[in-house]
């Protein structure tokens, strides 16, 4: 199963932290730091698989992709296919791209809640649930439709800040 999905930038600042097991905040941050330290020093020519995250137990593999300033990291156990997860990261990123049109780090900061909703449509309970991009964006968009008529503001308060950045 997928134990955790992390997105952080090159400096190790978290943009999404999602664990599929109950883990305390302190340990979560520790794991984030550990994985960042392992991943950040690897040049892009090396392979996308890595072992050795001790805080997550011995049976864990890190599978990551590096896009521009961001690292997308999935921590999985041995029951997952490595290349499959690698593809899944690609699907997730493509889904983000559809939602935000040329997704960039700022999108992830200002819509950190929406990232969660998108991820929910791709991975649930540590298992891949849907890989069809059309279906993913349909689910997320229809959820958004439900919000609009009910709420006077299309986004949350922090979303309004976007114009100033």
């Amino acid at each position: 199963m997928i134990k955790s999905v992390l997105i952080f930038n090159q400096l190790g600042k978290p943009r999404l932290i999602k664990f599929y097991e109950q883990i305390g905040t302190t340990l979560q941050q520790e794991i984030l730091r550990e994985i960042h330290a392992l991943v950040a020093k690897r040049p892009d020519t090396q392979c996308n698989f890595l072992e050795g995250c001790h805080s997550m137990g011995t049976d864990s593999r890190i599978i990551y992709r590096h896009y521009a300033t961001l690292y997308f990291v999935f921590v999985v156990d041995s029951s997952e296919s490595e290349l499959g997860i690698l593809d899944l990261i690609q699907v997730f990123v493509e889904a983000l791209d559809r939602m935000f049109e040329n997704v960039c780090e700022l999108d992830l900061i200002f819509h950190f809640d929406e990232i969660h909703y998108i991820l929910m449509e791709v991975v649930e309970a540590g298992m891949v649930i849907e890989t069809n991009l059309t279906e993913i964006s349909r689910a997320v968009n229809e959820g958004k439709q439900l919000i609009k008529p009910a709420s006077e503001h299309s986004r949350l308060g922090i979303g309004a800040l976007r114009g100033f950045v």
Binding site: E51, G57, T58, L83, D87, F112, T134, A139
Partner: protein
Amino acid sequence: MCVEPSLNGYNRKKYVCKLVYMALLGYEVSFGHREAVDLVNSTKYSEKQIGYLAISLLMEEDADYGRMVVAAMRRDIHDTNEFNVSLALNAVSNICTREIAEVLTQDIVAQLLSPVASMFIKKKAALCLLRLLRRFPEAVNAQQWAARVIPYLGHRDIGVTLSVASLVTALAQQFPEDTRKAASFAVRRLKSLVIDNEYAAEYIYYKVPAPWLQIKLLRLLQYFPAPESPELRSLLLSILRHIIDVSQDTPRELQQMNAQYSILFEAINLGIQLDIDQGLMQECAVLLGRFITSREINVRYLGLETMAHLAAYIDSLDTIKTYQGVIIQSLRDRDVSVRRRALDLLYSMCDVSSAKTIVSELLRHMVVADFTLREEMALKVAILTEKYATEYSWYVDVMMRLVSLAGDHMGDEVWHRIVQVILGNEELQLYACKIALQTLKAPVCHESALKVSAYVLGEFGHLIANAPDCAPVDQLKALQSKMASGSQSARAVALTTVGKFINLFPEIKTLCLRVLDRYRGALDAELQQRACEYYALATLESEDLMPTVFEEMPPFPERRSALMSRLLKREADTEDQRTWVFGGREINRERKLQKAGKTVEDSEEPPVAAVPQLLEVPEQTRFVADGGQTPEELARVAKSKRHYARLLWENDGILYDGDEIQVGLVAQYKPPAGRVGVFLGNKSTAPIYDISIHVACEESSEKQLVVQQATGQGPLPDSLMPLGQARVFFDIKCIDVFATAPTLRIAYTMAGAPTVSELQMPVTIAHFIDPVTITVADFFSRWKQLGDAAIGEAQNVLKTPFLSTDSGAIQWLRNVVGGAGFALIQGADAEPDNIVGVGIATTENAGRFGCLIRVEPKPAHGLTR
């Protein structure tokens, strides 16, 4: 936090959202949770959404507001708006407390099986159940609904199939019986996907149809035994073949290559696991050989990993060995992940012929390897060396180098094991002493090496005392020179050695005493105590205490190597039951047997070989203790296992009884030779073709046992009609004592499906033992003789729980011992139930030697000695 009572929905949402963001940044957020619960209870979707998100990220399992959350979830699961249902299901899979499992499971199952729920809900419900099943298997009553979930594997919606496949995979591991049907569903779904190309266009990912579903299904099938029906079998085979054929040419685009290869690797894994077709596997080996030289690093990595899996199962390692050079090269890859996989592969593919090269390569690499890798490397080198050592000197050389090179990075198990092995093998001791002294005399001596050397010299220093430069004084001096720089624990071992020297070489007693005297004032309590005690012992008036205390250590009882347990422990600790581990075939087979749900007592038979050159009694027989189990529980494999066990002490009977064929055996033994007739009967209603029957010996016993097809008999018939019978005779010659039984391989084609059955032949060393009658007194004098020499004795305690319940068990045991070729001596022992037997084993090269056996059943404890 002070909350205004009149906080409106928008502001509440805003504040909760900020809390979630703070949690993301790593701050502990332990307040405001109740606001999130309020949001969950709101009727507005936007508020509900944020509320559930906050709860799934922030809520602790034991939160006091848990009850309120469960109530809200329950309401939402039954909501008519499917997005509310989806939110609730998502939250369930994130929080998942025991209460939720108990209260909501039925509702979620209903959603999954409901005829009206949309695909969107069904797939979420399936994964939700999976999460609950993993967390609280006892609370969800999985057996009630498992069978009804399985048909969803054939669902036309790929999303639903995908999540159900995940759920069924987990169910299959917990309830293999209830989910048996899933295999056929999975195979058929794969067929429609791979061969018939039935799928929606949106599921094509870079030209590959639904790779995730393919992977999931291929993975799911690995948890089931190979399908029994020939139709399914051939279907599965054609699917695998199709996948492999498609991958023959390398796709251009990176994403497509990833997707395609991910399926291919999974298909190969499945092929290996089911052990369907060796020809296909050899082809895979070639394909993998191409991958490990690939320029694409991910492919290289996975190629190595899959090849390690292959090496752990495949019959012939020859194809893999042709890539040995490349694999060793990969050990120097720039990427540590690749290096690690290369190490695993080398460990898996190692056998007697390649052991020397591989071990020496690993040692060479040890110096430059990463620190994180060294411990595992050291363990693996130690295990391989012990397992495949053919010369004693090689073993000692390698191990000494190993401790010198990697001493810092390995646990104490390694050096403990070396000492155990040296102590257990007399031939090793002289050579080990020489090397130990050399090690001590070298300018630099690693601390673990110091410990081993000190221990060995202390025990066997006298063996080389007469050689030049090896006089007791030289030994002591060498030891002393390294003692000063050693660590506290190493010095402690060395001090004991000095103590032993006093006993071994009285001529250097004064020198030794001087050393001890110096350490009597050591600051460290342990050293001081040792020095003082040894000093006192040596200066004691009475002369007999010293030799008693420092008597030579007895050989260690043969037991499972601590190294192995340690290595396996590193790989345990997982929710998913692994279907294989790194390492040779034997270890994986053993795992398979254990999985069959049998209590196979891997026992070293307790006979005693009275020949000195046989130090480790390799008579290894598997006795199956199968009392107290109902036949319904036993799978077919297990049944054949029982047939096998019975044939161990009976000369004719049925070895295998299946739906299609029946295999019977008739055996005659005239030590050291024997003849075994194999009868193959067709039980089915269709004729079978292309029959071939072969017997192969395990590599380890190839030299000890020769099995040949007897001359002067007609060829096998080409086909076998229903109820027809064919037979072949084999001549067996026992050259030396052997440990593993040969394998009988029967291949035939039925209704177009080739089938191969592998059965273990019930041929053990026990069949080459003739009963001899001797007197009771004679028996005991010989028994004692053995006991004194402490050689060639193997003792084992078997747990036999049925003993305490079954009164006929003693008689059964008697039959076993009698059937194994021992003459029983009645009334030899004081204890009436004990069974005592004598036999002579005859082998062609090792000659004849006597074997004594003594079985002491202890019904009260359920133990047999």
